[in-house]
């Protein structure tokens, strides 16, 4: 092959090589995304951890709201951030599929995410009494998420 004038054969090889490289890249990306949208043990465990974190943070915020340690604005704005993150977690869990053995855990986590999202939405404008109840619910949700996560190890 002369530089600048690839032979037909050389050109084909180059194309095949490029297709191969593209294939490898797509395969790696696919594997990185959890193999075609299916949640594996690790990804599900991450979701459980993330939900535990959001609910525990919400519970702590609710506890501080009850004891008058926080401001109305901070409670509203911070719970709104937590609510948005919980909504995203819920949406991704609803859209996800998993191996049959993991399906019950995925369903439990999805239900839990819906509860956490709803609680965090209410927390922003909750009275002290409501905040107390929401804090308890969020704490329970955090413990349940933790259990689900530990069950996946």
């Amino acid at each position: 092959m002369v530089w600048g004038f690839p032979s037909r054969f050389g050109h084909m090889t180059l194309r095949r090589e490029r297709l191969l490289v593209l294939g490898v890249i797509l395969a790696v990306l696919g594997a990185g995304c959890g193999g075609g949208g299916k949640l594996g043990v690790k990804a599900l465990s991450q979701q459980a951890k993330s939900l535990q974190s959001l609910s525990a943070e919400g519970a702590l915020l609710a506890q501080d709201a009850v004891s008058g340690k926080t401001t109305r604005i901070y409670t509203r704005e911070h719970s709104s951030d937590l609510y948005k993150a919980a909504s995203e977690a819920e949406a991704s869990l609803k859209a996800a599929k998993s191996e049959p053995a993991l399906e019950p855990k995925l369903r439990r986590l999805t239900l839990l995410a819906s509860r956490v999202r709803a609680d965090l939405k209410r927390l922003g404008d909750a009275s002290k009494e409501e905040a107390r109840a929401l804090g308890r619910e969020l704490q329970t949700a955090a413990e349940e998420s933790q259990k689900i996560g530990e069950g996946l190890k």
Binding site: S53, E57, L60, Y74, E77, A85
Partner: protein, 411 residues
């Protein structure tokens, strides 16, 4: 030392304490504490000693040579290396400035309840006006002193009653528990990067020239760098300890800039919360100004433009335009809606990659008798400078692979 000098040292130290912590320190120290408890406290010590060593060195270089570091970088390393350093530092500066502006807008939102997207341009406007109107010393002092609100985290850390034996154990490197080794190493790299951010040394050395420090001020330079950064590092300890006590047992992994304030709120109530938010606001606001100025200093010093905050804007027009443009570009980045906390993580990791380009020329110039005369690096400065340069090289190579392997510390 005269009373005037003592006062200058005290004021310098106070502004250094408030100015040490930026959004990178807030994010990485809190996350590290929430995941690994006190186990990474030793990394903060290493990072703080590193920034002291190199800040003292570049302050000394600027005071003796009467020229800022970037000017000497280009002269000493040539156009190609100088340009590579310039590009790398400008990219990191812009990312950091955008993250800090996002941080300012979030703090305003948590204090006022106004919409985040409305607060972003207002934050940029406020920072640009402050930069334009306030003299150089006042910018440092206003943001540094009000950033001292962050000391509330030290009180919170004590009030949360940590196990002091475990805290002391955290200052000794050893085996880890919690998340995986890769995540642990990712946080080692992130904490070092957050402590040794390049913009800090560029800003510091340009400040030395702006303040017309000379050989007489070498003692002041040493004291300010050592005590100021050491006490600033104390705030990093406080953030990590508070997160280790409050967030780790509950499984909270902080994803928001508002989360660290929860620690102050939980320990000290509303006053603690407000002091924390005001402290964060001014610490990240000051850092936003420092990054925009550091970017403008670098550009002006590389291309040989007239520069300096003390110059009238019309006389140093290209310098003034540069920091305004950096603010405008950072505004565009934040307005895309990209999460400032994620942006911070990327900016810190990319700054780690750029660290060798920043610190090698400083080490070379500080060792050059032609520039430094009798104030050339001593044995200790050389030993520490060389040792830290090896550390910097290792973490620069490891930073991106660790970020990819751990999905940004997620495991």
């Amino acid at each position: 030392m005269s009373l005037k000098n003592v006062l200058a040292v005290a004021l310098g130290i106070m502004s250094a304490i408030g100015g040490f912590v930026d959004i990178g320190d807030l994010v990485f120290n809190t996350q590290a504490g929430a995941i690994f408890g006190f186990q990474l406290l030793w990394v903060v010590v290493i990072g703080v000693v590193g920034i002291i060593v190199y800040s003292e060195m570049c302050g000394r270089v600027s005071a003796v040579a009467k020229r800022p570091v970037f000017d000497l970088v280009r002269e000493r390393t040539g156009f190609g290396w100088g340009l590579a350093t310039l590009i790398a530092s400008e990219v990191v500066n812009l990312m950091t400035c955008a993250a800090e502006i996002g941080g300012v807008a979030i703090c305003f939102q948590l204090l006022s309840g106004l919409p985040y997207r409305l607060l972003i341009p207002l934050a940029v406007l406020g920072l640009a006006v402050s930069s334009w109107v306030l003299p150089f010393r006042w910018i440092e002092r206003v943001f540094g002193y009000l950033g001292l609100g962050l000391l509330v985290f030290a009180v919170a850390a004590i009030k949360l009653h940590p196990n002091w034996g475990q805290v002391a154990h955290g200052f000794v490197p050893g085996s880890h528990s919690g998340d995986s080794l890769m995540v642990y190493l990712y946080f080692v790299v992130g904490l070092l990067g957050a402590a040794m951010t390049p913009y800090e040394v560029y800003f510091y050395s340009s400040g030395v020239v702006e303040d017309r420090w000379g050989r007489k001020e070498l003692g002041l330079n040493k004291v300010t760098a050592m005590i100021g950064y050491a006490l600033g590092g104390f705030l990093s300890f406080a953030l990590m300890i508070a997160a280790g006590v409050l967030f780790l047992p509950r499984g909270i992994s902080p994803q928001f800039l508002g989360t660290p304030a929860l620690a102050a709120e939980h320990a000290l109530g509303q006053v603690g919360l407000l002091l924390a938010l005001v402290g964060i606001l001014f610490a990240v606001g000051g850092a936003a100004i420092e990054t925009s100025f550091a970017g403008a200093y670098n550009l002006a010093q590389f291309f040989g433009w007239r520069w300096g905050k003390k110059e009238r804007p019309a006389r140093a027009s290209r310098f003034t335009l540069s920091w305004l443009v950096i603010f405008a570009l950072a505004l565009l980045v934040v307005m895309t809606g990209y999460d400032p906390v994620k942006l911070t993580e990327y900016s810190v990791i990319f700054s780690v990659v750029a660290l060798p380009l920043t610190y090698l020329p400083i080490l070379l110039v500080a060792n050059d008798r032609a520039y430094m005369g009798a104030n050339v690096n001593g044995k200790l400065a050389n030993f520490l400078g060389g040792l830290y340069f090896v550390v910097i090289l290792v973490i620069a190579v490891a930073a991106i692979p660790l970020m990819l392997l751990t999905h940004g510390g997620q495991g």
